[in-house]
């Protein structure tokens, strides 16, 4: 990855997402938490990056910074070379917890973003119906979230995110509430959707196999304060020239090596 040079911005396209020496401190009555320390890395256009690290190492914080919910204490968070100023429709965020509004139908949930942004609701409605239908929720547009299974709710949440037509997707452990079986198939499905639509995606997860199976690169963070520990390029040449789906990737012969390397790294403390 080439380092970004501000004077040479005509020659180089900036990376889609870039963290530059980012620090973040949380302040509370109990004290100060140094959650993110000297974080620098970037994500290219259309790339799928997974972030792994122990609980509390600042993964969700990184995504919040990127989505403009808060500002770094120092350093810069850039999208398309411009500092993030606040929440933008360009960035879609799937939160760690299931946040569908139970008083709205699935379709109305998907229309929340367009409503807030004051978009053309007729067009948004058509878009939401098309997206949700393509995610297999066509029969459930007018159901309330509690009537849906966990997997369907997750797809509905993705639909709500996609309805804003973001080009960057932030996924914070989107599958953690699902049982193992559903988790595998939903991850495959959602990974497929994201790649098909050419979105830039950042996935935060505790699950190392999931991180490897979905991503082009895996970023490993050290325990708190979260620092960049290593970045692993993921590729499965044995499975053919194209990137295999997440299920096929788990079967590929390179998988075990990646898993072993990353697992060992997360276990060793320095």
């Amino acid at each position: 990855m080439t380092t970004h040079d501000t004077s040479g911005r005509h020659k180089e396209v900036p990376p889609k997402v870039e963290f530059r020496k980012v620090n973040l401190h949380y302040f509370s009555d109990e004290g100060e938490t140094h959650a993110v320390k000297d974080m620098s890395f970037s994500v290219g256009r259309g790339e799928f990056v997974s972030i792994v690290g122990q609980s509390g190492c600042g993964k969700s914080t990184l995504l919040s910074l990127l989505s403009g919910l808060m500002k770094p204490t120092s350093g810069q968070v850039l999208i398309d070379g411009k500092p993030v100023a606040g929440p933008s429709p360009q960035v879609g965020f799937m939160l760690q917890q299931d946040t569908l509004f139970e008083w709205r139908t699935i379709l109305e949930n998907a229309l929340l973003g367009p409503e807030i942004r004051g978009m053309d609701m007729g067009a948004a409605r058509q878009r939401a119906e098309r997206i949700l239908t393509s995610y297999g929720l066509g029969q459930f547009l007018h159901h309330k979230p509690p009537q849906l299974s966990g997997g369907m709710r997750q797809r509905a949440a993705l639909g709500r995110t996609m309805c804003m037509e973001p080009d960057i997707l932030l996924l914070d452990e989107p599958f953690s509430a699902l049982d193992f079986q559903t988790r595998l198939s939903i991850a495959e499905e959602i990974g497929e959707i994201i790649r098909r639509e050419g979105k830039t995606a950042i996935l935060v997860t505790h699950d190392i196999p999931e991180a490897i199976a979905l991503a082009d690169r895996v970023v490993v963070l050290s325990p708190r304060p979260g620092r960049l520990k290593s970045i692993h390029e993921i590729g499965f040449p044995s499975a053919g020239p194209a990137r295999p789906g997440s299920m096929a990737a788990r079967e590929a012969e390179e998988f075990r090596d990646y898993y072993h390397t990353i697992w060992t790294e997360m276990e060793t403390h320095d």
Partner: protein, 272 residues
């Protein structure tokens, strides 16, 4: 699809055990109804019989047939409708004012955490203070009519503010965070997340307030009034007409039941 359907469709032919269960449920429901009616009848019978048998002084307790006669008498005088109307109007107005004012204040508190912090101790004290202690003061300040509304509103207002604010501040922070990622500001978080997410809080407050407004109005009427059920109770007791007092109390309980049913209807309609 047709092949995966179970050979025996359970909906079409309920099993014997299930039919028995249904029957048992229906029998139990009937027992509950009968039990309620029996208790009411037993109470009325005892109330009627004890004074007539000379076990208690009828001057003190009156008895159902006398209450019924008292009720008919009030009705004949044509004043009963007025008393009920006056009390109902006072309840409805103070209930509505407490609800609207309380909601507005709770929203302001939610919008401004600083204001909430500053006002918190005052609200707690205002809520804990027995509002009935204020009746004489309200009477001096506002006169007989005004003091009734003032007590009834005071009784319901602070609990409204506290209940609603507590509900608002306990809104799922993740839902708020999600709305923020979609670009919502404070106003939109209020209208799209906090308010719709607190319909149940609103209903709970509504239920509490109906009763509280009624309490406030009756207490207010005790102090000073020319009409209303509270007035009827005080007046009846002063001229030692227990039948009149009891008739007013029975009407009050019927009003409570009616309001309760109304609120339940509203709840069903709001929650859909």
């Amino acid at each position: 699809m047709t092949e995966t359907a179970p050979p025996e469709a359970t909906a079409a032919t309920p099993s014997v055990a299930y039919r028995n269960w249904i029957e048992r449920q229906a029998r139990n429901r009937r027992k509950v109804q009968v039990g309620r009616v029996l208790i009411l009848l037993a109470f009325l019978a005892l109330w009627e019989a004890a004074p007539r048998a000379g076990l208690v002084n009828p001057m003190l307790t009156s008895y159902p047939t006398a209450v019924w006669d008292g009720f008919l008498e009030l009705l004949a005088q044509g004043s009963l409708g007025l008393h009920i109307g006056v009390t109902l109007l006072e309840v409805v107005i103070s209930f509505a004012v407490a609800m609207i004012l309380g909601t507005v204040v709770a929203i302001c508190l939610w919008l401004s955490p600083m204001l909430e912090k500053i006002l918190d101790p005052f609200l707690v004290v205002a809520n804990a203070l027995p509002k009935i202690a204020l009746v004489p003061i309200f009477y001096i300040w506002l006169g007989p009519e005004g003091s009734i509304y003032a007590v009834a509103i005071a009784v319901a207002l602070f609990i409204t503010i506290l209940m609603l604010y507590t509900g608002f501040s306990q809104t799922d922070p993740n839902k708020i965070k999600l709305a923020r990622t979609l670009g919502a500001g404070k106003r939109q978080i209020l209208t799209k997340v906090v308010l719709p997410g607190n319909v149940h809080t609103f209903m709970a407050t509504l239920k509490a307030n109906v009763g509280l407004s009624l309490v406030g109005v009756i207490v207010g009427e005790f102090q000073a009034s020319k009409a209303g059920l509270g007035y009827l109770i005080v007046y009846g007791s002063q001229i030692f007409r227990m039948d009149m007092v009891m008739a007013a109390i029975v009407i009050l309980s019927l009003i409570s039941v009616a309001i309760y049913l109304l609120v339940q209807k509203a709840e069903g309609w709001l929650m859909r």
